[in-house]
C-alpha cells in the first residue's frame, strides 16, 4: 500500500469524547428548536437505576431499568415519537422529587404527568384512582376496581396496575390483596415491600415528621384500609 493511503488510514483520529460532548449539546439545541419530543435519562434510587422519560406535557414513563433500556426507548419511539434524546437536565425536577421521596422528605409528587402510555378506559381510571391514594395508605385491588366502576374487576385492576407506566409516582405499590397479601409488582415484589416500609409510620424519622406536621396543624392521613 502506498504511503499516502497508509497515512490517510492511520492519522484520522477517533473522536469519541468530542462527539459525546457534541451529542449532549445537541439535546439543548434540539429543545431550543422544538424538536425534542421525548427527553429521557437514568436516575439513581435505592431500588436500582430508574429510567425516566418526559414529553413537554410531563413525565410519561418511569421504569426500573433492569437491563430494559432498549425496550424502554423502543416503546417511547413507537407510542410517542422517535425524536428521543438523552437529556439529564430536563428531568431534574423528577430527580429532585424522587430523591426527596426516598429520603423520607416528600409524600406527594408535584411534577406534571403525561398519561399517553396508559391504555384508556377502565385501566386509565384505575391508575388515576391509584394516583389519589395518600402516602402510607393501602387499598385493595377490589376497592380500586370498585372506585373505577366495576367491583368485580379486581383482576383487570391488577393488570392495569401491572402495566403502570409511572410506578412510584402513581403509587401502585399502595394497592394490595384483600386479606393482606402484597400482590404483584413490576420487576419484583420486594420493591413493593421496600416502598411500603419506607412509607410506614413506624419508621422513626417519619414519626418525627408526622409529629411536626401535627403541631403545624396539618391533618394526618388515616391508616384505614391497611389489612
Amino acid at each position: 500500500m502506498s504511503s499516502i493511503e497508509a497515512r490517510l488510514h492511520a492519522t484520522n483520529p477517533s473522536h469519541g469524547q468530542r462527539s459525546a460532548d457534541a451529542a449532549q449539546q445537541l439535546a439543548q439545541a434540539a429543545e431550543h428548536h422544538g424538536l425534542l419530543d421525548v427527553a429521557w435519562t437514568r436516575l439513581d434510587s435505592p431500588l436500582g437505576t430508574l429510567l425516566a422519560a418526559a414529553t413537554p406535557a410531563g413525565l410519561c414513563a418511569l421504569w426500573y431499568e433492569e437491563s430494559r433500556v432498549e425496550q424502554f426507548l423502543d416503546l417511547l419511539a413507537r407510542r410517542i415519537s422517535p425524536r428521543i434524546l438523552e437529556t439529564p437536565r430536563r428531568l431534574d425536577p423528577v430527580r429532585r422529587e424522587l430523591d426527596e421521596y426516598f429520603a423520607g422528605r416528600r409524600q406527594t409528587f408535584g411534577v406534571p404527568l403525561d398519561w399517553t402510555l396508559t391504555n384508556g378506559g377502565f385501566a386509565q381510571r384505575v391508575l388515576q384512582i391509584t394516583a389519589q391514594i395518600p402516602y402510607g395508605v393501602v387499598r385493595t385491588y377490589r376497592e380500586v376496581a370498585a372506585d373505577a366502576g366495576n367491583p368485580r374487576a379486581s383482576r383487570a385492576a391488577g393488570n392495569a396496575l401491572g402495566a403502570n407506566p409511572l410506578p412510584i409516582v402513581v403509587p401502585c405499590h399502595r394497592v394490595v390483596r384483600t386479606g393482606g397479601g402484597l400482590g404483584g409488582y413490576t420487576t419484583g415484589v420486594h420493591k413493593k415491600a421496600f416502598l411500603l416500609d419506607l412509607e410506614s409510620p413506624h419508621d422513626q424519622p417519619k414519626r418525627a415528621e408526622a409529629g411536626r406536621r401535627l403541631l403545624d396543624g396539618e391533618p394526618i392521613q388515616s391508616m384505614t384500609g391497611r389489612s
Binding site: 504511503s3 490517510l8 484520522n12 457534541a22 415519537s81
Partner: protein, 158 residues
Amino acid sequence: MSPPPFSEFLEAHREEVYRVLAASVGPHDAQDCFQETFLAALRAYPTLRPDSNLRAWVLTIAHRKALDAHRKRTRSPLPIPDVTASPNGQTAPDETEPDAELWAAVRALPPGQRAAVIHRFVADLSYAQIGQVLDCSEEAARQRVHAGLTTLRKVYQG
C-alpha cells in the same frame, strides 16, 4: 414502523460523523457542522422510510453540511484562518490531528475528490457506498478517489 429511537441512532453514528466532518472541514468547524447535521436529521427523522440505510443517510446530510461550510469559507472576504495549513501555526491541534499537513492538503482538494477520499479512508466505505453518499456512480467514486490520491502523491512525492 417508525425509525429506531433517535438517541440510539445518534449513539451509533456520532463518532463516525464527527470523524468525517473533522477530516472534511477541520477540527475547528467540525463541532458546528455536527450540530447542523444532527439537527437536520432530527427534523426529518419521523418521516424517514423504515427501510432507509441510516448510516448512508446521515453521512449524506453531513456531506452537504461540510460542502456548505467550505462554500461559506471561500465566500468569506477575510483571510481563511486555517492555521492547520501552516506546520508552525501556534494553534495547530496536534492532538486531534496527528498529520495536520496531510489533512490540510486533503481539504484543499476539489470538493468531489475531497469527499470521495475522506469517505474511502476515514469512513472505510466501499466505492458503491461512496457513490450513494455523494450521489454519483460507483465508477465515478472510484475515479474521484484515484484522482485525489494522485494529487496528494504529487504534493508529497511518496
